[in-house]
């Protein structure tokens, strides 16, 4: 079998088992997955899939891979088993008609941990972080960013030339905020008990405390 590849896609009765080689790094996996999906040109569309061999990946890396699969029309599932080594590879069945497919919303990535200095999360859609963004960490999103914690790092929303993006964070402490191409170099120290919203208004980044009685 093609053991040297970072990604192996195998068809089973229940759907597609996508086997990741844990010895490969995440970037290799990601690029190869996109390559294979591109090559299949919609062939997998509508099939259920499960990622196998994700033990070494960070949760947001796993969700990035899943998001890529979903972009190509695959449906995430938890119960496609990993085929045994000698299992004969069958050609994936032609896409079955699936009912109750959720309407495709906007892409979003959920990061369930604190980002420490030197760690970076980049994603083309929206990003939600359940934790803090510590000094020296980076978050870059094509869409909006929501941080359920204190933000002291570098955050860039609307990186895909989207001036209407915004950032919501519970706390702000010496962060650098960018929205589209605008930069706010320093936010005040110790802003707790938010949520605070940062967005572009009249060509500048402004931030204010979200007051729920407003709306």
């Amino acid at each position: 079998m093609l053991a040297k590849e970072a990604i192996n896609i195998k068809g089973t009765r229940q759907g597609l088992a996508i086997l990741l080689d844990p010895n490969k790094n995440f970037e290799e996996m990601k690029s190869e997955l996109i390559f294979k999906m591109e090559k299949a040109s919609g062939f997998f569309s509508g099939a259920k899939f499960t990622l196998h061999g994700v033990k070494n990946l960070f949760p947001e890396e796993k969700s990035q891979l899943e998001a890529i699969c979903q972009e190509y029309g695959l449906i995430p599932s938890t119960d496609v088993p990993s085929p045994r080594e000698r299992h004969i590879i069958k050609a994936p069945e032609s896409p079955k008609k699936t009912t109750n497919v959720p309407a495709a919303g906007e892409l979003a990535l959920l990061v369930k941990r604190t980002l420490r200095s030197g760690q970076r999360v980049a994603y083309e859609g929206h990003i939600t972080i359940l934790g803090d963004v510590n000094p020296g960490a980076e978050v870059v999103a094509g869409g909006n960013i929501i941080i359920m914690g204190t933000c002291s790092g570098f955050i860039h929303a609307g990186a895909n030339n989207n001036r209407k993006s915004y950032i919501i964070t519970i706390g702000l402490h010496n962060a650098q905020i960018r929205i589209n191409e605008k930069v706010l170099f320093k936010t005040p120290e110790h802003l707790h008990n938010g949520p605070y919203v940062a967005c572009i208004e009249e060509n500048n980044i402004i931030y204010y405390k979200l007051d729920r009685s407003d709306r």
């Binding site: 200095s117 030197g118 020296g136």
Partner: protein
């Protein structure tokens, strides 16, 4: 099976080597078999701090490259029967060893010792990767300065990536009067940023410098606060539940307590 603990910090000069030496001596004084490995190849210090530099014959690179068995390279400590040092090479650099060799070495030594403590070099490059390769536990040392805490945060992230989860934190060189005046980060500030378990706080103490210069360890000095702090940390490593030392009380009350044996 012994524990392999790496002492690391990212930033230099926060007290990794001093901590390694004191924890080693403290654990050895409680009748554990302890071996210290100096992984700071090219800038070796641990032997100097322990006062053993003129006894070095073979070093870490000799062992990993197969020139001699590790037992031949070990130096026995002057004071403790069951404390050994594997010194670093001074004439080589970090690339003389690779992580796989360190892993093999640590696994080999694990059967012989209760605790193997690896003194990690500053930085996050090859030396760091070597030092953490064989470890199954990590202690992160920091001082109450923004730069040191920032580096500690980075190191904790890298340790998690290498599957050394839940590292323990030692805050070194704490000056309580400065914290009181708001001139230094407090313990709570540091814990809020790093979000890891605190193993202990070592106060700033001139005795550390004095004993280091003499090649002694402050942990065996019963009259120093920093020695007491290290002894507490050692007991916590052993799994005891030791309350955090109240470092703020000093003067008369402290003397009184010591007199009636409450220390």
């Amino acid at each position: 099976m012994g524990e392999v603990i790496v002492v690391t910090s990212g930033k230099g000069g926060v007290g990794k080597t001093t901590t390694t030496a004191n924890l080693g001596a403290g654990l050895a004084s409680l009748n554990n078999r302890v071996c210290l490995i100096d992984a700071d190849i090219g800038l070796r210090n641990l032997d100097v701090v322990m006062g053993l530099e003129n006894r070095i014959v073979y070093d870490l690179v000799d062992v990993t490259s197969g020139n001699c068995p590790y037992k031949k390279a070990l130096i026995k400590d002057k004071r403790f029967e069951n404390l050994y040092l594997l010194p670093a090479a001074q004439t080589k650099d970090k690339t003389a060893v690779n992580p796989d060799q360190m892993r093999v070495l640590c696994d080999e030594m694990r059967d012989e010792y209760d605790y193997i403590i690896v003194d990690c070099p500053a930085g996050i490059e090859q030396g760091f990767r070597n030092a953490i390769a064989g470890a199954n536990q990590a202690i992160v040392v920091t001082t109450p300065e923004v730069s040191a805490v920032r580096d500690a945060d980075r190191i904790i992230g890298l340790l998690e990536k290498e599957d050394l989860r839940e590292p323990k934190l030692i805050i070194n060189r704490m000056r309580y009067h400065m914290v009181k005046h708001g001139d230094m980060m407090s313990i709570d500030d540091i814990i809020e940023i790093l979000a890891v378990d605190l193993l202990g706080v070592v106060p700033e103490d001139e005795l550390v410098v004095i004993s280091t210069n003499r090649g002694e360890m402050v942990v065996i000095n019963n009259n120093s606060k920093s020695g007491q702090a290290y002894r507490n940390i050692v007991r916590r490593i052993k799994g005891e539940n030791v309350p955090m030392m109240d470092l703020e009380d000093s003067g008369f009350m402290k003397k009184l307590r010591r007199m009636i044996g409450l220390k």
